[in-house]
């Protein structure tokens, strides 16, 4: 597209100023939600909130940890679509009915950390302070337990690929190994464990 020597087409000038008008204010604004590795986790104050990582919870379930109660605080529709094994669905409204017996470990699972923390705080206000929040919520469960990407693990996880892979298969997930898989691959959601 040759630019006429007599001058640039007006549309180019308009587009140039439009791009500048949109990008200059953007430079002074905060990052958009969802642009980080896990946007829902940004800025959360975890002080005073007991929490467990998704793989930690998975380990508890695999080890049949006694008196483990997993409360899924998402909507009934989300719960029906998929939920962590052994989880029960309790809406925010119904959470007032939760009364824990001695020795019970209650893990609250939301779609992300924030919703679970909100329920956890509400329970605390009623004097029930033994709730543990699933860090990262269902997003973390899906990414870290069901479909972990084994090709991008770092730190201690990098040396633990086999266990993470087994965990994924146990819960009916598929580890992303980067390896060729033959066959129908139809067992994606078939649990090998509970």
């Amino acid at each position: 597209m040759a630019v006429p020597a007599a001058g640039r087409p007006r549309i180019q000038i308009v587009l140039l100023f439009a791009a500048l008008a949109l990008s200059i204010p953007a430079a002074f604004m905060a990052d958009p939600a969802g642009s980080g590795p896990d946007p829902t986790e940004a800025g959360i104050d975890w002080s005073g909130v007991e929490n467990v990582e998704a793989r930690g919870l998975a380990r508890w379930i695999m080890d049949r940890k006694p008196d483990l109660l997993i409360v899924d605080a998402r909507s009934a529709a989300d719960y029906e679509a998929y939920h962590i094994p052994r989880a029960i669905n309790v809406s925010a409204a119904d959470s007032a009915t939760i009364r824990l017996d001695e020795g019970v470990t209650m893990v609250i699972c939301g779609s992300d950390s924030r919703s679970a923390i909100a329920l956890c705080k509400a329970l605390e206000r009623r004097g029930e302070s033994r709730a543990i929040v699933l860090r990262g919520g269902m997003r973390a469960w899906i990414d870290d337990v069901l479909f972990p990407n084994l090709t991008v693990l770092t730190g201690a996880d990098a040396g633990n690929k086999e266990a993470i892979s087994r965990m994924s298969l146990y819960f009916g997930g598929t580890p992303k190994t980067g390896e060729l898989r033959r066959g129908s691959g139809g067992g994606r959601y078939i649990r090998e464990g509970c």
Partner: protein
Amino acid sequence: MASFPLNAAGEGIVGALCAFLAGSAFGFFLERGGLGNATKLSGQFYLRDFTVFRVMFTAIVTAMLGLFWFSKLGLLDLSALYVNPTYLLPQLVAGAIFGIGFVTGGLCPGTSCVAIATGSLDGLSLLAGIMAGIFIFAETFERFYGFLYSTALGNVTIPKVLGLPHGLVLLAVTLIAIAAFIGAGRLERSGRFSRERR
């Protein structure tokens, strides 16, 4: 505020319709931009014609601005966007292969389809080559998959690598694009690399 249903756009009849509309619009604007012409495209590599550069850089800036502002306005959930993970070495090699194919044939996969739509035999022969390449790659995939998934860096983005806010990167890319457009225009007008001169 409800955001654009990205997940629905990838599934079933709605997904197929979205793909058809996006693909048609993509092809139409490529053709209208002159990117169905192999001579014009290869002119980019000889620094004679910067149309490809302008179209691609404009698309990048438009997409960046669109994603940023639609996300800010609550119309788009950025976390639902798939970020292709980076496998550094394989992608460098793939980029080099793509570049060699592009400069040799004068068309890339998308523009070869556009060229076919306008009745170009160049495009047809390129597409035949692409299909042959896909077939050979699929049949020899097992030999390469160790390499294909090597040097994994995860979902890398420029703001994450540079540790800068998204908005600042957006402004920097826009300024670079504007400077590059001006530079490309001057180079074209100077005729330094034109066929006549050579």
